[in-house]
Symmetry: C3
Subunit: 280 residues, 3 copies
């Protein structure tokens, strides 16, 4: 059995040593455990983005991975700290909805509130639970601790609202734009899509449970202001500098520009509507 892996996800940024101190705490408790950074640059307090990023990463982490996720605008309030255990991975962090897309994808976890004083630093500060509470819990779990030792079993967990997505059998789907990546490609809530040659399958994701199949012939993607972009397979399907929609690497519909930035060129922003529908 390979040792467990801890995958870090925070909004700490990289200018302070906060992320490094998480690693230091883990190394002190579980020196044999590998740690990877997913990102430390989640926009400040953006729990939805954290939830999305965990969902995006979950397919690619090895079995036994522990997500140590500290996007925690509620630090210094009464929100709980939790360890959530699924078969393939675990989440350690605040109970604030960041794990809700994992739950939607893989069902309800075994959930434990982090209350046991043996598995936290002493004292616990009021502003840095990542260091004092969550990193120790994740490290002990990675070192093999039975999660029942971390605290009492709990049931109701915080949930984010499901992403906006309306699926219309035989017609298509209407969703919204989420964020752009560094390349200016904009991801949307329209998915999960699978390319089946002359059809697109739109499979359930998160709390959306309608599966439909659409003939590609005649499908188009309409953005805000009635702008339409062709549906392609890859960037090179359109000339350089032109926009297209395609199935992104997580199976969601994305808007991109071949050798360019869709975000800037099409003036896109979060929350704008995206329709994948038959022309006319």
């Amino acid at each position: 059995v390979p040792p467990a892996l801890i995958a870090l996800l925070t909004d700490f940024g990289l200018e302070d040593a906060f992320a490094g101190i998480l690693r230091a705490v883990i190394a002190g408790i579980a020196p044999q455990v590998s740690v990877i950074d997913l990102t430390h640059q989640i926009p400040l307090g953006d729990v939805r983005r954290a939830a999305f990023t965990l969902w995006q990463a979950r397919t690619y982490v090895p079995p036994g991975t522990i997500f140590l996720c500290v996007v925690d605008p509620g630090v210094g309030s009464s929100r709980r700290g939790v360890a959530l255990i699924w078969e393939r991975y675990a989440y350690v962090g605040p109970d604030n909805g960041a794990a809700s897309y994992l739950m939607a994808g893989d069902g309800p976890p075994a959930a434990f509130e982090l209350t046991a004083p043996e598995y936290r630093l002493d004292p616990v500060s009021n502003t840095f639970h990542g260091r004092d509470l969550f990193a120790p819990a994740a490290a002990h779990l990675a070192a093999g601790l039975n999660p029942e030792r971390l605290g009492r079993r709990i049931r109701a967990l915080e949930q984010l609202p499901a992403p906006l997505l309306e699926v219309r059998p035989r017609q298509g789907a209407r969703g919204v734009l989420l964020h752009a990546d560094r390349f200016g490609n904009c991801i949307s809530t329209v998915g999960v899509l699978v390319d089946r040659g002359d059809h697109l399958a739109l499979e359930p994701w998160l709390r959306q449970d309608t599966a439909i199949t659409l003939p590609k012939q005649g499908l188009q993607v309409e953005l805000a202001g009635g702008v339409t972009v062709p549906l392609g397979r890859q960037f090179a399907d359109v000339p350089r500098g032109e926009a297209l929609a395609y199935i992104g690497s997580s199976g969601l519909l994305e808007i991109g520009v071949h050798h360019g930035s869709a975000l800037e060129q099409l003036n896109l922003s979060e929350g704008q509507p995206v329709r994948l529908e038959k022309r006319g």
Copy 2:
């Protein structure tokens, strides 16, 4: 015994491969040693910030940690390279004061000038001692080298001035603001503070050696321009959008805004006065 850990702290940034090349050099010399990044985004040449960050991290690193700290505005001058050895950890880097808060916290180290040609790369460049001098020395130390092999023992080390802090028994303390973190919380020199219920203990830190105890009742925090903020325990003690002072995660007095940025909202900047005193 777990293998030693090297903790990196530099002002190299992450756009060039400089920090990665430090890791490459270490991996070539001591492949079994774990390496963590504290941060590579210390403001350019800011030795005081490096000293502070080392002080902040020192409590949380495992025994045997080697801080490889390259904030080195004097590269290409006559400043020395040193290895400083304490019981719990070591510092490898330029002798420019970056280790002086460690010294103030843990006393004088055994100090060695890095002169032995066997433990550096050949040739040594004039601009990248992190790669050619400090990373090899840290890697050899982490692999178990006796520090006496690195070069001759030295005594007088560079020191930074102590942070501005004036402690007044029975009255309080006057310090200054240091920097803000990514969240806009501003750390100050007023500390180290410990919450003792209805009293605050102000314990010695760095070269400040007066310990006092203050009743919390009637204490307030005054900033530049006579602005006062309440002293709280945690963000949720004030309504969203309001400011408070609290004991930060390193024990120093911090100014924050619940779900906001104190830096922006209160227009704070480095060096501004902070008074923790009885009202009136």
Copy 3:
């Protein structure tokens, strides 16, 4: 034998989890392999910068290092994925010229097109070959896979044009500025230089094969607009705030300012001419 090392170089940035997901994929396939980040902040699609950074790092990585380099503006087109094997290291990534300075430095590699379906994820997306194609190939190689298993042997590889550099025996060299580092020091194509006391040797680098030796006496460095800066050994050779040229840490001529930014102070930019020549 120490286990292989994978060194990551991408233009993914650190705001998304893309770089973290590369590490997750590697950890799933080859958990025992160490991974270091050279940088993830290559300017978007800047294959030349990637090639330069690999060249810069190659001297300092341990034998057996695999460069997993994903600067891939051609993703979603017909460019090939390759594994290139030299004696000391390997390159895995797109065949787009990013490896051409490695080739110029160390000769032609054994080259394999990444076609074997067993060593990629299934399905392979059209936009994230780093995750689906290159990370698995690098991880399998690091775990000991014979590169012949990755796909068919190929010959002609993409090449970048050689950096602009004209060497004039007995006179000097004319090159151009490349990029600046975080400190504002600007690296140029004039090199590789070695300090031989009262002479400078200009040795071949990349496809430049004229070696010359120049007496230092009377040499000067001329920049755009006829600005000249003295040739020094290290920053402290000039007063604070003044500019100089010196042999940088990779052996290339650099322009710097002692305790300042040459980029800003001299208004430098990429492509500007740099002449290392006798005065008058």
